[in-house]
Structure formats: structure tokens, C-alpha cells
Amino acid sequence: MSKLSKFALFLIALFACSNSLPILAQENNIAKADRDGMIKQQPARLLFADSLLTKEADAIDNVITLSDDNNESYTFSEGQLGEDEDFAGSTAMVSSNDDYFLSEVGYLFSPMRFRIRAYNAQYNNVYANGVLLNDVERGQFSYGMIGGLNEATRNKEGATNLEHNSFGFSTIGGANNINMRASQYAAGHKASLVGCNRNYLARAMYTYSTGLMQNGWAFTTSASYRWANEGVIEGTFYNSFAFYLAAEKKINDSHSISISAWGSPTERAQQGAATEEAYWLAGSHYYNPNWGYQNGEKRNARVVNSFEPSIILTWDYQINDKMKLTTSLFGKHSMYSTTALGWNGNAADPRPNYYQNLPSAAYDVWDLSYTPTEDEIADFMTRYDFWTSNKANRQLNWDYMYFANSQSNAAGGDCLYYVERRHNDKLTFNLGSTLNIDYNRHNKGTFGINLGTTKGMHYKTMADLMGAERYIDIDKFSVGDFGLNSSYIQNDVDNPNRQIKEGDIFGYNYDINVNKANLFYNHLYSKGIFNLYFGGNIEGTTMERYGKMRNGRAAEYSKGSSGIGKFLGGGGKVGIFLPINAYNTITIGGSIENRAPLAYNSFIAPRMRNDFVQGLTNENIYNAEVSYKLTAGPVMAKVTGYYTRFTDQVEQNAFYNDQQSQFTYLTMTGVNKRHCGIEAAVVYSITSSLSVNAVAAVGDAQYTNNANGFLISENEKVIMNDDVYLKGVKVDGTPLTALSLGVDYNIKGWYLSANVNYYDNIYIDASSYARLSSVVGKPVIDATTGEERLEIPDQYKGKGGFMVDASIGKSISLRGGKKLNINLSLNNLLNNQNMITGGYEQNRDDNKSDGSERIYKFSKNPYLYYANAFNAYLNVGFRF
């Protein structure tokens, strides 16, 4: 017992430390005293430029640590369970039982949101009990669906694109199958507590399973709660409960039925990206513009509410020794919404980091040849002082917004500020059935079918009128263009000038209906250690937009059905495993796929219109790869080279276009991309308890042509075709270079590990608007070469840098088969606060609509997200 109580003290101390970390993490990386000194002595512009330069130097010099979340390679990493669907592509993960690279990178590089081969998450299929769970509109699996259910989703298998599997069809990003059956869990209780300084601060989890009992029944249940009144990012909170309930009945040796239900009702506040200037003013790369004070309390404007209750019914039928049929029916009602501040009429943009509020909107700080006037410097300093003198000044001012609404009530005016809730709900039913056949000693095959239907419901509701008495459902941007009496300004022509109360649907309301049918076959021929794998699939997709509101700007084609778009696709793949000898194996493989576009990208301006994108076609994916694997005594190594080509992709961006004062959609078709690179992993076991490992992913992923753009504004004042200069733009939101060197040591139940990771070639989402031919303009004569060239903006690239992680754990066996596990992970030990994980360029123009230059330069001010500062994660698990 004394051993235990010592541990308890140790843990309490650590937990106390970890809770004080948010303060450390948010300390200024520009010493405040230095800053004050500089203000007095230097012209304002130099101050800003200096700090940017200093940061660039820091980014290279600093070495940082990262750590993975835990040592369990078969659970989803925390990065994924953190529900990162807010970001363009959440970390895609494939696990493979015998591929060290794939089993490591998923969590090793997760602090930098690394995506394998920079593939979009839609190319990673996630199944449960053989039925596909990926969202049909955006293609990705929503990790929020299983948030907090680490224990319940522990049992899973994975396969790469070119590996045989018995549960489904893997695309280029591979596939996973989570086993949700109640009998798959070891009998007994498991409880764990986590303390950390991340999105949440504490997690409690409990799992109980009966195991498969003598009467043929098995029951398993798991529940968890994750909580933070304020997470590591200021102004965020986290409140998430999760449950998993499963029952299984083994009827006889042939039949087994299981039912599992789970869900994870979650409410959490979001972090927002900001520009480098705003980070500089706030003195931290973790400045969060989304919150502000209301009655002295911190309130966040961007709150996600998600709950995706899911149920899966599975029938396992062992037909005979050679044949097994697995059939699952899956149902899900996903409720996902995010809130956002709205401002009505001619009210000012209330966001604290709105560009007009920034010092660099006082004069052009980027043109070093320009000498600002005294007035301009004074204006700059007034803005600077406002930002830096009081924290509340750089956050939202809720009290002000409430006050404005109450004054407007008294004046008989409309609501000025409100909070809207944007809903993306889904009702999904999927049926998956796979028949596995062992033909003979050398051949086995898997036939499968997946049928799915999804109704996606997209609308917004009034979440909070903030005391205002009247809000009318019209489009404020169209009022000036068409006049107050025009039907064009009505969001719902059939209910003109409708007054909106809290909870009412307004703005837009439409469904996206998608049906999919997929037939596939996997075959494995194996003789000795020689393997030949091939597979193929055929997939049919239908999609439709169904408008529930008649929008005034598209009165004839917004309500009712868009008609049904039909797409037939399919693909084939082959992988050959050639053993040269017992130590050396070469794998060669390739795949071709013709794939339906995502419904998310298939409709133009779907908030108001029923139109399909012009020239909408299937995309093509060509993939080839070669691997070499060495297993020689203590050394295990694998190197893979891959080349993937995408053609005829469709993408869509939506943004506010201030040239037109309109919400605008830019659709791109005929998009081609190339992803290629090398993946390598080496593990060298020096002794049975000490090993060193190295992992490398060095790749390139870029657009290889200029796309056909179609631009349309919500008021239809702009409808035009235009080229988009995308050629050479890199795929964003993941480091294209990620390297790791690590050491693992375990002795007497202790296990220690440390990794030094290096990341580079991190790009942010390039603005397609800024690359429109009409925005780029005519070619200019290059001063040095004398040749004509287009002034296409350079894509913003983050600086490379190091991060270091370490973890220490201990496993203690107690009497009666009980077991205590303690693990502490320390991430980003060197506290590198200068690594971006991604971001986006602003879709706004440096010129005004009359062609004159703006003072503020959108092109120089991308929005950036930074990887977390030093953080710790302590997990104590007890099995009894």
C-alpha cells in the first residue's frame, strides 16, 4: 500500500503541475518589457517588421518536443478523438498489423495534424462490423462520432490499399474496421482517469464487460466524460459525455447476433485562427479571437454541439468451415451544429480582429519605401495601444452588443447583433454484407456489398437574439442592390419579411440526399511467403439537393428538387509481394479508381440554389507504389515509394467577396493533383528492452494544372467563368516532410520513450480567389529577365522545426489479477510555439472595387493555426 500511496502523491503533484501549464504556454514569446521599450524608441512600422523577423529566426532555432498521447498503438490517437472536423482534413489514419510506419505515424505526428501522403481524409474508409461509416457528403469519417470511446473502439483491424482484408474495400488511404461486438472485450472492469492541458483537462472513463458468458450472451458498456471549464486555449470549454452499450448473443456455433449503440453528446467551444499581426499584438500564438466578456464572464461565439447517436445490428453467420457471412445494418442520426455571431443591417463587424481594427490598416507597413506621416503613425499607435493595453479590447465585447440591441429596441430598430446556429444534421442508414470464402489452401476471397442512404439537413436557426426584439429574414447584402421593396432580398419569398424568433429556421434550409451502392471483391493468393492480392469494386451514387425555402435571389430554382445526379464509378488494384529471401521482401502494386464527386462539392451555392456544378464528372485516381522490407535479426526496416495522380477533381470555396459585398462561391472543375514521396521506418532492437527507431515521411503533394473556375455571387450580379492558377499550389494542412528519431526502453514494468521530430514544408490553404485569372490580371514584364510573367501570389509556407516528446509509464500487477497502469506523456518539451499546423489565405482583394489600393494588405495576412505549446497528459488506468 505504501508503494501505491507514494504513486498517488506523485500523480497529484504532476496533475497540479499540468494544470498550471496553460499559463506557461500562453506567456508572451515577445518579452513585454522589450516591446514597451521598442514602442518608445522606434517607429511603429519597424516594431512590427522586427517582430516578424525575430519570429522567423526563433522558428528555426527552437527545438521542441511533441509527444504522442499514449502507448497503445491500437487506439485512435487523441488528435483524432479530439474531433477535428473543424479543420480542412482531419488526420487520416490507417493501421496495419505489420507495418511499423503506418502503426506509428498516426499518433506520432498527430500534434502537427499529419496526414499520410497528404491525402484528404475521404480516401480513408472507416468501417464498423463491416459497414462503411464515412460521411457521404464530405467523404470523411467523423471522429467526433466515437469521441471519448477510446476503450470501446480499441478492437480494430486495418489494411492498406494493397493489402487483403476481409471486411471492406480500401481506397488509396487504406481502411479500418472497428469491431463493435460486445463479446470482443475482456471480461471485467476498467476505469481510467486522465489529467491534461489540452482541449479538455480531465477525462474519466469506465468500461465493463461480461465477456462471453456460458449462456451465450455478452454485454459490454463503456462511458466517459471529458471536461474543461477552460481548455488550454483561452476562452474554450469542453463538455462531452460518451456512452457505448452492446449486447451479443451467440445462438449456436453458426449464428451470432449483436447490437451496439453509442453516442457522444458534446458541447465545446472553438479556437479561431488569427493573423500573425494579431498574434503579435496579443503576445501569443494561442490568441483566440472567438471569445469575449459578458457580465465579466468569458463567452465564446463559436460553440459546437454534436451528438451522433448510432446503432449497429450485426448478424454473423458461419456457413461452414470455408464460408462466413457478416451482415450489419447501421443507423445514425447525426446532429451537428456550430454557432456564429451575426450582425444585421449596417452594424459594424464585431470581431475584434476585423482587419479595420488592426494597426496595419493605418498605413501600408509592408511598403518599406513608404514614409508614414505623423498622423498615420499616431493612428497606428492608437490602434496598437488599444490592442495591447487591455485584454478585453482584443476580444469580443458582448456587453456592447447587448447594449446596442437594447438601444435599438428603444429606438424601434431591428436587431443588430445575434448568434446563429448552423446545422448540418444527417440521417443515415447503411447496410453492409461481406461473404468470406476460403477456396482452398492458397486462395481466399471476400465478396461485399454496401448500400447506404443519407439525408443531410442543412439550415440555420436563431440561437440567441441577444435581447433584440425584431429580426427580419432578409439578405442584408442584397438590400442596397435591389431595394428594400424587392423580392430579391427575401431569403424566403413564400414568407416575406418574416420575423424570426429564437429557435426559428431562417436564412437557408435544404436537404442533400445521397444514395450509394458499392459492390466489391478482394482476392488473396498466397503460396509460402509469396502473396498476390487483387480487388475491384463498382459503385453507384445518386445525389440530389432538395430546397425547402424559395430564395428571392433564385426564386425559380431554389425550392424543390434539383433533379438527381447519377454517377457510376469503380476501380481495381493489384499488389504483389515478392520475397527475395527470408530477410528481404519487395512489394509492388497499383490501383486505378474512378470515383464520384462529393455531394459537398457538387452543387453551386447550395444555400440558395438547386444547380449542379457545370461539367461535373467523376474523378480519377491512379496510384503506384513499391516497398522494400528488411527483417534481419534486430533490424526491421521498410521503405516505400509512392506516386498518386488525381485528375478531374471538383472543389468548391465559399467566401465573402468585398468587391461585390456578397457571399460568393467559386467552383473549380478539372483539378489535377500529384502526390508522391517516400516513407521509411527502421527499428533497431539493441537489447530486448532497448530499441531505437526512425520514421520518415518525405513527400510532395501539389496541383498540377490550372482549374476551370466558375464564380457566382449570391445576388447573381457576378456569374462568370474564369481560370484559376492553381498549378504548383501545394496541398495544405499537413507537413509534407515529417521525420522522427526515437528511443524506447522498458524494464521491470517501466516503459520510457522519447522522440525528436522534425517537420517541414507545411503549407496553408491557398486562396483560389486570389489566383483567379481576372484577379491576377495581365502579365507584367519582369524587370530582370525582360520576359512576361503573371503575378501569381506565392503560397504561404510555415517554417520547419523540431518538436520533442517523451513518455514514461509503469504497469503494476496487483493481487487478484488487478492491474494499475500509469502513463505520463509530455509533448513539445522544448515548448516550440512557432510551428503552424495550417491556416488559410484570405479570399479578399488588396484592391478596392474601383481599382485603388487598400491600405491593409490581405495578401500579406494569412490566418494561421499553431501547434500546441508544451503539454502533458497523465493517464491512470485500473483494471479490476
Binding site: 462511458a223 463538455n239 449596417n346 452594424a347 456587453d399 429606438a411 442596397g480
Partner: protein
């Protein structure tokens, strides 16, 4: 049965967990959360202020107000409809003055009928086209004050009230348009039985883009020999609504640009059609 016990426990947990949500009460204000509630009683009328700084105003120059001057008035024109931009007009019993602030959506706190005090010390006053304005320094001339400066100099008094005496414009006729009166602008006035020169048919709009120069379309009213220019912004919410025809009564603020009479129309709510009984 053991399993059932755990299941029911879990169900209870679910119910309790989903019921706790973050709610915020609407703030209640003893004092306005915007502006400077320390600003004391007015000690100067708007007319006195204009007289005091008439040299700068008439000279199209600008000076900093260094004395303790507090004025009080009621907002009679603002940017709510988008025709007025980055300014509002304050009126007391002696006259009106333009206040320039480098911000949009000023009407959020400067609603029509709102009584406010302005602590002028530290602000600038001057003339733009000889029109008096309080604001900030811009390249040596009078411009708008920085948006973060404004709340330090303004105090909001009560809630907007359109029944206050300052909200009643003075009805003027053509005899008003004298050089002497021009010097004391701005003035909150009412023009009665007037017609827009351009309102020849119902297809004429207030400020269509195709007629605009620098996003402004000029509309004119003649009162006797005097021409009054309405500078209408293409950004106004009503820019593409029809220019009203027939005889009208119009409330608004008379201003000047050097020797031209101009009229600031804050909103089309300030226009009423004269009933024609003929």
C-alpha cells in the same frame, strides 16, 4: 442482472450529462457599457462651440480643442441606412454639428433620438468645405477620430427618444437661405412641399450605380432660386428604391460644401408624401 444495474446507472449519467449546458444571462446595465460615464454636465452649446472655433471652420483648417468643453445634444442623423457614412449629427436647441468617427455601424449606440454628451477636450474641430465638424486630425485637416478614441469622449444618456424637443426640426422656406445662416450650419430642418427635380417618372431610383461618381448620385431640390443638393450614396439601403415623386415634406440636416447648400438625408423614413387633395 449485474449488467442491467450498470446499464441503468449509465442511462442516468446520460440524462444528467446532457442536461448541463452553458447558458448566459443577458447583461443588465446600470450605466451604459459603452462610452465614458464620467463626463459631466454640458457647459457649452453647439452654437457657442461653432462661434468659438469659427476661424478654423471658415478657414477650412483644424485645431485641437484644449479647453474643457462639453456639449450635449440628440442624434438627428446617423449611418443606419448607409447614406451617411462614418459620422452622425448632433442637435441641441442652438444648432447641429457633424461628429466624424472612423467606424461603421455607429447607429448601434448613436441611434436617432439618443441624447449624448461629447467631451470635446482633446478632439479636433475644423471645417471641411467650411462645414463645422468635430473629429480627429487627418493630414492637417479635420477628419474622423479613431474609433478607439470616440468612447473616451462620449457619454450616452438614457435611451433613444424621438419625442424630445431636439427632435423637432425647424420648418424653413426660401428666405432661410442667406449667407449669414450659412455660417451657422449645420441645422436640423424640415422642407415642406418640395419636389425632386429628377423625379420625372417612377423608374428613377435614388442612387443607381450607373449614374454614380465616386459612389455618389446628386439629387436636387429647388426652393425658389436656391438649389439644395442631396448627395445620395450608392451604398444606401434605399439606393435602388424609387426616388419619390410629387410634393414631399423632408426632415434632415442642412449643411454646406463651401458655398453650396447640401442636405443630409439619414433615412427615407424622414420623407412624407404630401396628401394631394386636387
Amino acid at each position: 442482472m449485474k449488467a442491467l444495474k450498470y446499464l441503468s446507472l449509465l442511462a442516468m449519467l446520460l440524462i444528467t450529462a446532457t442536461s448541463c449546458m452553458n447558458e448566459f444571462d443577458a447583461p443588465e446595465f446600470e450605466n451604459p457599457p459603452y462610452g465614458n460615464n464620467e463626463i459631466g454636465e454640458a457647459n457649452t452649446t453647439i452654437a457657442e462651440l461653432k462661434t468659438k472655433f469659427s476661424k478654423s471652420i471658415e478657414g477650412n483648417s483644424c485645431e485641437e480643442i484644449k479647453e474643457e468643453i462639453v456639449i450635449e445634444g440628440v442624434v438627428v442623423a446617423n449611418d443606419e441606412s448607409g447614406n451617411v457614412y462614418k459620422q452622425f449629427i448632433l442637435n441641441d436647441s442652438t444648432g447641429a454639428i457633424i461628429i466624424g468617427v472612423n467606424d461603421v455601424g455607429l447607429y448601434a449606440t448613436m441611434a436617432i433620438g439618443q441624447k449624448v454628451r461629447i467631451d470635446c477636450k482633446g478632439l479636433h474641430v475644423g471645417g471641411y468645405g467650411k462645414m463645422a465638424q468635430i473629429g480627429g486630425l487627418y493630414n492637417g485637416s479635420i477628419g474622423r477620430m479613431n474609433k478607439s478614441v470616440f468612447p473616451k469622449h462620449v457619454r450616452i444618456i438614457g435611451t433613444p427618444d424621438r419625442t424630445q424637443p431636439e427632435m423637432t426640426p425647424e420648418v424653413i422656406d426660401e428666405s432661410y437661405f442667406t449667407d449669414e445662416n450659412m455660417k451657422s450650419l449645420a441645422k436640423f430642418v424640415r422642407l415642406e412641399n418640395v419636389k425632386f427635380v429628377e423625379a420625372t417618372d417612377s423608374t428613377v431610383k435614388w442612387a443607381p450605380e450607373e449614374l454614380a461618381y465616386n459612389n455618389v448620385v446628386e439629387r436636387n431640390i429647388k426652393m425658389g432660386k436656391k438649389n439644395i443638393v442631396f448627395r445620395m450614396s450608392t451604398y444606401a439601403d434605399f439606393a435602388n428604391d424609387a426616388l419619390p415623386m410629387g410634393e414631399l415634406n423632408i426632415n434632415g440636416v442642412l449643411t454646406r460644401y463651401n458655398n453650396y447648400w447640401q442636405f443630409v438625408l439619414s433615412s427615407t423614413n424622414d420623407i412624407e408624401q404630401v396628401e394631394n387633395n386636387n
